[in-house]
């Protein structure tokens, strides 16, 4: 460990994220890993529709901005055509686990050799705080003013657990960015997820529990607590698959 500076893979751009948003931390981690593995020039990233839609302005790699939820299909198209490139998706919970459910499950099931970074902030950030598939029971959102579950919305989907049933998945881990230790674990996991792709091992996903102070309507401090006390309870951290 020499210096702590912005990784080369991140452009010198101020992001549009809100203060205290987990996307910024996750971006830096992904960029650091790409730097460390020396794959920046052969990486192709896919931006989701969600708060991270503009990430192509921040990352110093080739990028494509996909339709909402379809990044795994787009990544499939890219990776199959250029199998020697490193292809990753970066998706929110609405993108990956609601509208993109089918694309996620089937890319995983095919064992597409891609890396999926899944930012689970339990809310639709970009559109202003509606219920996400990962919103936890009782959590109020703009479309569940009485808290999720009051009107037949069901409970949160645990994506790592769900995907662990599919033979095509190679590596699934859930981490967080709500403490420095979690940040380190996330970095380790994301690195591994990229290394798996380099080794041709198949579908790897890291689910990152992340803060959205704005749409949770919480302060920075309270946002951390929400992740650490509430989200981690519903979404236990750990490795769900590794083969």
């Amino acid at each position: 460990m020499a210096t702590f500076t912005r990784p080369d893979t991140l452009k010198d751009q101020i992001t549009h994220y809100c203060p205290g948003c987990g996307h910024g931390i996750a971006h830096r981690i992904v960029a650091e890993v790409i730097d460390e593995l020396g794959i920046r020039e052969k990486t192709i990233g896919t931006a989701p529709v969600g708060c991270a839609v503009l990430m192509y302005d921040y990352f110093n790699v080739d990028m494509i901005e996909c339709a909402h939820g379809r990044a795994p299909a787009v990544a499939t198209g890219i990776k199959r055509v250029q199998p020697d490139k490193i292809v990753f998706t970066y998706q929110g919970d609405g993108d990956l686990a609601a509208i993109g459910t089918a694309e996620t499950i089937h890319a995983a099931n095919r064992g597409e050799n891609i890396t999926v970074i899944f930012i689970n902030n339990a809310i639709y950030g970009m559109t202003g705080g509606q219920m996400a598939p990962t919103t936890i029971c009782g959590q109020p959102t703009t479309t569940t003013p009485d808290g999720r579950g009051a009107h037949g919305e069901g409970g949160p989907i645990r994506v790592c657990e769900l995907l662990s049933n599919l033979d095509g998945t190679c590596y699934l881990e859930r981490t967080a960015v709500s403490t420095p230790k979690d940040v380190l674990a996330t970095r380790r996991a994301i690195k591994k997820a990229f290394e798996n792709q380099i080794a041709g091992k198949g579908f790897s996903m890291v689910e990152v529990l992340s803060m959205c102070p704005t749409d949770w309507k919480l302060s920075t401090q309270k946002s951390l607590e929400f992740v650490n006390n509430d989200l981690k309870k519903v979404f236990p951290l750990g490795v769900y698959k590794d083969r």
């Binding site: 549009h16 994220y17 809100c18 839609v53 950030g125 202003g128």
Partner: protein
């Protein structure tokens, strides 16, 4: 410009509560029995970017709900000023949030009102009420609607959501109304 109508543009960054200001003026109009139309344009889908709202206060039916050349403007940050300065009608007025705008207006035909809205909001303990601080100054200065109508509108708008906010916002309104500087037209 239609003679009967007053056009107001409010501009700032996405999170600065542009919508609320426009909404409050429009509500105040309705309270006073005037025609009003408020409209907001966003930059990005939600986060960041700039936003601006147009409020039209009029006696007749409002056809075009926005205008290129407003009579009055509330500028909450620097990029907004860059964008809208040239558009304001000759002899119009502009309110500048000096907390986030480094320079005065370049044109010399405009009436200018200054206040450090964001800093005042910071002192009030909530950066988010900078918009209301600015609104207080704007209404006090221009009297497009009565201050009482605005107070009533604030009550209507926030009471259901969060009664505590009513109080804070009314306070912000007062702070703004009491703390602005006004510069005469040079020309």
């Amino acid at each position: 410009m239609d003679n009967q109508a007053t056009y107001i543009t409010i501009a700032g960054s996405g999170g600065q509560g542009i919508v609320v200001v426009g909404n409050l003026i429009a509500r105040a109009c309705v309270i006073e029995g005037k025609n009003a139309s408020g409209w907001v344009a966003y930059g990005a889908e939600m986060r960041g970017g700039t936003a601006n709202a147009t409020v039209i206060v009029s006696q007749e039916e409002i056809a075009c709900p926005f205008v290129e050349t407003p009579d009055m403007a509330i500028m909450l940050n620097q990029p907004s000023l860059e964008r809208f300065e040239g558009n304001i009608v000759e002899g119009g007025m502009v309110l500048l949030n000096t907390s986030m705008i480094q320079r005065p207006v370049e044109r010399d035909d405009l009436k200018q009102v200054f206040l450090a809205a964001t800093e005042m909001a910071h002192e009030l303990g909530n950066l988010k009420v900078a918009n209301i601080v600015a609104l207080g100054a704007f209404i006090d200065h221009t009297q497009v609607v009565k201050m009482d109508s605005i107070r009533q509108a604030i009550g209507d708008l926030f009471a259901s959501k969060n009664p505590k906010m009513v109080e804070l916002n009314l306070k912000a309104l007062d702070v703004g109304a009491a703390n602005y500087k006004c510069e005469k037209v040079k020309g």
